[in-house]
């Protein structure tokens, strides 16, 4: 039923066709993720590097996770008036905490000995930040971006409620018309988009691990004790990026 809806040529053209809705969804996701990254990465770098305000950032982003997306979207819509602007603001607001937490966790997670060595080599604060801490933080930072993108893709579908385009339209229009195949098709498309974007970012995340770190991990990764420990740091990193730094 859903398959025949998805492969019906009529649903692949026009302003309410799958390609148009998909591109809209991608555009909102991209704009919100980029805006959130532009805000959160510098802030996370600052807090992580100086160690000032860490409690505030972690506590704040934890509290933000409790903010109901539908409530925020409807609230901003009534306050700001326009569907598209308010939805984009809401999406950006929701994408900031994961990126912030990822950046902060990445900087915090950088081996203190490595930072010390950089200082011993005479690197200035800026040099340490750009050439040591940031490269070391990139995998966790991108982990934060990954979470943010998932959050934005999901919320964009919810924001169709206040008249935003995107794949959420199929879901909600289908619901209104009791058109179950259309609804499920929308759900499947949103889920597929989320999975594809997550996969792409996961590949990118793997690619940005600095060569030095990879070599170090391989060099140390022999004896069983080391393997367990490595597993556990990965776990800590994963936990940190999934849930802020609790």
């Amino acid at each position: 039923m859903t398959l025949s809806w998805l492969f019906d040529p009529a649903h692949w053209s026009g302003t309410d066709g799958i390609p148009v809705r998909l591109l809209q969804h991608l555009r909102y996701t991209l704009v919100a993720a980029l805006a959130a990254t532009a805000v959160a990465v510098p802030l996370g770098l600052f807090v992580g590097h100086t160690g000032r305000g860490g409690v505030l950032v972690v506590g704040g982003s934890n509290a933000m996770r409790a903010l109901p997306t539908l409530g925020l979207v409807t609230f901003l819509f009534l306050v700001l008036g326009s569907g598209e602007v308010s939805a984009l603001v809401a999406l950006t607001v929701l994408a900031v905490p994961p990126v912030l937490a990822g950046t902060y966790a990445g900087i915090q997670d950088t081996d203190a000995g490595v930072v010390d060595a950089a200082r011993g080599m005479g690197m200035t604060g800026w040099q340490r930040l750009w050439r040591v801490e940031l490269p070391n933080a990139l995998p966790l930072l991108l982990g934060g971006v990954r979470n943010a993108v998932l959050q934005v893709v999901a919320t964009t579908a919810v924001a169709a409620y206040v008249g935003l385009g995107g794949l959420g339209r199929f879901l909600l229009d289908g619901l209104r018309a009791f058109d179950y195949p259309k609804m499920v098709a929308g759900a499947v498309l949103v889920a597929a988009l989320a999975m594809v974007l997550d996969l792409l970012l996961a590949l990118l995340q793997r690619a940005v691990v600095p060569r030095g770190l990879r070599l170090a991990a391989r060099g140390r990764g022999r004896g069983p004790a080391r393997v367990v420990e490595r597993g556990r740091t990965e776990v800590a990193a994963d936990a940190a990026m999934r849930e802020g730094t609790e």
Partner: protein, 221 residues
């Protein structure tokens, strides 16, 4: 703004409605928490013992976690055959999310139980099941509660999305506020969701303290 709010909350029937929705929200968000924990513990136990299951279960959990909530709510009735407007859909979807979120912490926590502790329990004559329930699981509680805290916050926030499908809970305040272009219900809804998340979080922290008396007694856990 404040005038609007006090006028909105001034009505007896409105207050009753809000309380009803709060109660339903608690049910929609917290029942899955219990179900999810009950699912995640045996799954984590299995995954920790069988390497093949570990890879596949953690992989599935990761994929499940990427599915957007609204999409999940809509697909569930097609899978388990319930009505599209049934609250069961939200409860089922959130239970699966919770379990997916918790499998990894459970496995990690069980991995982290020191080998000598397990050896000591075995030497004292504990059979595997009893050893798991009496030794490994209690030691996993701190990590497990950290995961449950994350899951509870996200459940409480996600349960409100169910309102888009006409399923009650505090999310209904958002949709009714939007439909009538009236801010007070939306504000009350947001505040109550945040407050509920905070209260549940505090309860979970208290529960962890209760379940890990050795941590309170001071010294290493």
């Amino acid at each position: 703004m404040l005038d609007d709010l006090s006028r909105y909350l001034g009505s007896e029937s409105t207050r009753q409605l809000i309380v009803d929705q709060l109660v339903q929200h608690v049910e929609l968000a917290l029942l899955p928490l219990v179900v999810g924990v009950a699912l995640a513990i045996p799954l984590g136990w299995l995954a920790q013992r069988h390497p093949l299951l570990r890879t596949s279960l953690l992989g599935v959990a990761n994929v499940v976690y990427t599915v957007p909530s609204l999409a999940f709510f809509v697909v569930i009735p097609g899978v388990i055959g319930t009505q599209i407007l049934a609250p069961v859909n939200v409860i089922a979807a959130l239970s699966v999310y919770t379990a997916a979120l918790l499998v990894r912490p459970v496995v990690d926590a069980l991995d982290a139980v020191p080998g000598h502790v397990i050896a000591a329990a075995t030497a004292m004559g504990y059979r595997p099941l009893r050893r798991f329930l009496a030794v490994e699981l209690p030691l996993a509680v701190p990590v497990l509660t950290a995961g449950v805290r994350v899951a509870s916050v996200s459940n409480i926030s996600l349960a409100s999305v169910g309102a888009l499908l006409g399923i009650g809970g505090l999310g209904a305040l958002f949709t009714s506020g939007f439909q009538t272009s009236y801010l007070p219900p939306i504000i009350v809804g947001i505040v109550l969701v945040l407050a509920l998340a905070l209260v549940v979080d505090l309860v979970l922290v208290g529960l962890r303290r209760l379940l890990t008396p050795w941590a309170r007694a001071g010294g290493a856990r």
